[in-house]
């Protein structure tokens, strides 16, 4: 009976998760075409360096170490989760123990040590966020859901660790008493210290505690799995494709719009025979005008705020926050995703990223200095979104700030940002030039 319930719960949880992953994928693919120009080998190496080995996390060593512990702990504990799933389906208890022998002891020791480290790391993160109040976690966009999301993730991790320790402690007592299926299996260097708290309990009570903790652990994991698509925690999956598909080019390089090139070439009499085609909106008004990589960026963002902490505009009190640009993009995408969920297809709803989520004041505060691009540990590019919104405002809506319109007129008339004649360009060098 327990096996049937387990199988139903497991398949349902995986099914719901798979459904939401597909919905997420459909939403991201609403973006415009994009492909990095480098070779697959370079992309794999970049993913290995930046996502697997977390190179850029090292910019902040304390956070890097605590993050690394939780990251490795996630992989180590998955071995135990695999066994829990096998046991749940087969109705066995610690099914891997006889097959793995001494390796089983190594696995349980590693799992317990890492679980203890994860516990400490999660407490450090909670402390930094809620007690030390590291400033980047408390900027304007970090109100309501974002900090709650972060705390839910950390408390869930702590809860899962505690469930595992309770389960192992009860298991060890039952093993010592040689009760039922609880045969000697595994070595538990941490949870053994919890045994005294349970030693006065009867066998039956211990079995209830062990089973309850076992179920709490696996149900917690399955619930967490289905929480992730709606959480900033998506980065644990999306950091890998996001670094793979990232563009590894100088931060200073901004792409030219190819549909503009065709028109400009024709107007300059440089057309090479290919016809000019009007190809949708210039720049971006809504998320569907952005490249799918920018949309993947938005879902990959875990709201750490390193971008905002180095943004010169944000530091000096302007409204621009690169993190908010990503969070707004994701919020808008979630709105579209909900429509996809309800109706199966996306029809414009009269709202847009620019205006309803991001204000012109924000995007015009950017100096394009690239600090946000450099700061992101998972190669998100906030500047690509900011530039696309500026392109829409300038070229489609003709709503660039008035001073910039003066700049454009000067560039058109004089080839210079100032209203100064090209004839004066070499005046500075007059005494230095030969004929």
């Amino acid at each position: 009976m327990a096996q049937v319930i387990f199988a139903i719960v497991l398949l349902t949880a995986i099914g719901i998760f798979a459904y939401h992953v597909r919905l997420l994928s459909r939403t991201i693919r609403l973006g415009r075409p994009y492909m990095p120009s480098d070779s697959p080998l370079r992309r794999w190496l970049r993913m290995l360096r930046v996502a697997v080995f977390q190179q850029r996390m090292m910019d902040k060593p304390v956070a890097a170490l605590a993050h690394w512990v939780i990251y490795v702990g996630f992989f180590v504990i998955n071995l135990e989760v695999a066994e829990i799933i096998l046991d749940g389906l087969a109705g066995t208890h610690r099914v891997l123990a006889p097959y793995l022998g001494v390796f089983y002891d190594a696995m349980t020791v590693a799992a317990e040590i890492f679980m203890a480290l994860v516990f400490v790391a999660a407490v450090i993160f909670l402390w930094r966020r809620n007690v030390l109040k590291v400033p980047r976690f408390h900027t304007a966009e970090m109100r309501g859901w974002p900090p709650l999301d972060a705390n839910i993730i950390l408390w869930t991790e702590i809860g899962l660790v505690v469930a595992l320790f309770v389960m192992n402690a009860a298991d060890q007592l039952l093993q010592a008493r040689q009760v039922g299926p609880y045969l000697s299996a595994g070595t538990f260097p941490i949870s053994r210290w919890l045994m005294p708290f349970f030693s006065g309990l009867s066998d039956d009570t211990l079995i209830v505690i062990e089973r309850a903790a076992w179920w709490a652990h696996i149900l917690g994991i399955l619930a967490f799995l289905n929480y992730i698509p709606f959480s900033k925690h998506l980065h644990i999956f999306l950091a890998f494709p996001n670094t793979y598909y990232a563009r590894e080019e100088p931060v200073g390089k901004l792409d030219s719009l190819p549909q503009v090139t065709a028109i400009v070439r024709e107007s300059l009499g440089l057309a090479n025979g290919t016809s000019v085609e009007a190809d949708g909106t210039l720049g971006a008004k809504d998320v569907t005008d952005l490249s799918w990589k920018s949309l993947l960026d938005a879902y990959t963002c875990t709201e750490c705020g390193r971008c905002t902490a180095v943004c010169p505009a944000n530091i000096t009190g302007k409204k621009l926050s690169p993190r908010k640009i990503l969070m707004d993009t994701r919020d808008r995408l979630e709105e579209i995703k909900r429509t996809l969920y309800r109706t199966g297809k996306w029809e414009p709803d009269g709202k847009a990223l620019l205006g309803d989520y991001i204000t012109p004041e924000e995007i015009w505060a950017c100096t394009t200095c690239g600090a946000c691009v450099r700061a992101c540990p998972v190669l998100i590019n906030p500047l690509a979104i900011i530039l696309a919104l500026r392109q829409y405002m300038t070229m489609e809506a003709a709503q660039a700030p008035e001073t910039l319109n003066v700049l454009f007129v000067n560039l058109e008339n004089n080839g210079s940002p100032w209203a100064l004649p090209a004839a004066d360009r070499a005046n500075w060098a007059q005494s230095l030039l030969s004929a």
Binding site: P250, V264, P312, I315, A371, L411, A429
Partner: protein, 260 residues
């Protein structure tokens, strides 16, 4: 003298070794013009045959692109590329990191492939090749802080060439807390130079200049004409204009070589 307009080089049936892309700032701004003259003196000291486009030069299009006007950017870029190709230009050096970045990174996709140098890279190369010689004496004294320009440093990964040149001056080189990859912008990039700042607590150049001045330097070195304007304004704002000099790396090197 080995400097001519490109049209004059062409009329003489010759070509310069390098095109100096002057940029709008050094063409029109008094302060940046002094940097251009210092740089040209260094080129001449190294015996480089140099040329400028003079009245034929236009903005590279950097501020238009970053203000979202890709039509204007590409129009300027394609015209410049045609001009550069008509003179068969191979090598370009720019004293402005914005021009440098645009020419180097954004022109190739529009058909303009040139070998592009920032003047600090080019000057370092000339010293490394022995074409520009540092005299045994003439070291400068005092403390110096270097401000990384975004489009040279973070934008193109060039941190060493400017620092090596600055060490040659003999001054004590100090780094502000935010430097190299995490250097703070002066506030001028992304066409901000040509618009009013958005509302905020503080201007970016004031924030940056305070950080630089906290190291109590006698001089602040920059490698960009827009940083020059922003940091100079910041120094004036702090009431330090008489005691702290903001100078381009080319000016410091020219002074070290006794050319100023």
């Amino acid at each position: 003298m080995p400097g001519r307009l490109l049209s004059a080089w062409a009329a003489a049936g010759e070509k310069p070794e390098v095109l100096y892309w002057v940029g709008c700032a050094a063409s029109f701004d008094d302060r940046a013009q002094r940097v251009a003259r210092a740089f040209v003196r260094l080129l001449e000291a190294a015996g480089i045959r140099w040329g400028i486009l003079g009245t034929e030069e236009s903005c590279t299009g950097d501020p238009a692109k970053r203000a979202g006007n890709d039509f204007l950017f590409q129009t300027l870029a394609l015209q410049n590329i045609q001009l550069l190709k008509s003179y068969e230009i191979k090598t370009i050096v720019a004293t402005c990191p914005h021009c440098f970045n645009t020419l180097k990174n954004e022109y190739p996709a529009l058909g303009g492939d040139f070998e592009v140098w920032h003047h600090t890279q080019y000057l370092y190369k000339l010293i490394a090749e022995g074409r520009l010689r540092l005299p045994a004496d003439g070291h400068l004294k005092g403390r110096l802080v270097y401000h990384d320009p975004c489009y040279l440093g973070r934008g193109n990964g060039e941190y060493e060439a400017p620092r090596r040149l600055l060490r040659y001056t003999g001054m004590e080189l100090q780094e502000p807390p935010r430097h190299r990859d995490f250097a703070l912008c002066c506030g001028a990039g992304g066409a901000q130079m040509f618009k009013e700042p958005e509302p905020g607590r503080k201007d970016i150049n004031i924030e940056r200049t305070e950080e630089l001045l906290a190291l109590q330097p006698q001089r602040i070195a920059v490698g960009c004409p827009f940083c020059m304007t922003m940091i100079t304004d910041g120094v004036k704002h702090a009431g330090k204009y008489d005691s702290v000099r903001v100078q381009d790396i080319a000016e410091l090197l020219a002074e070290r070589l006794g050319l100023l």
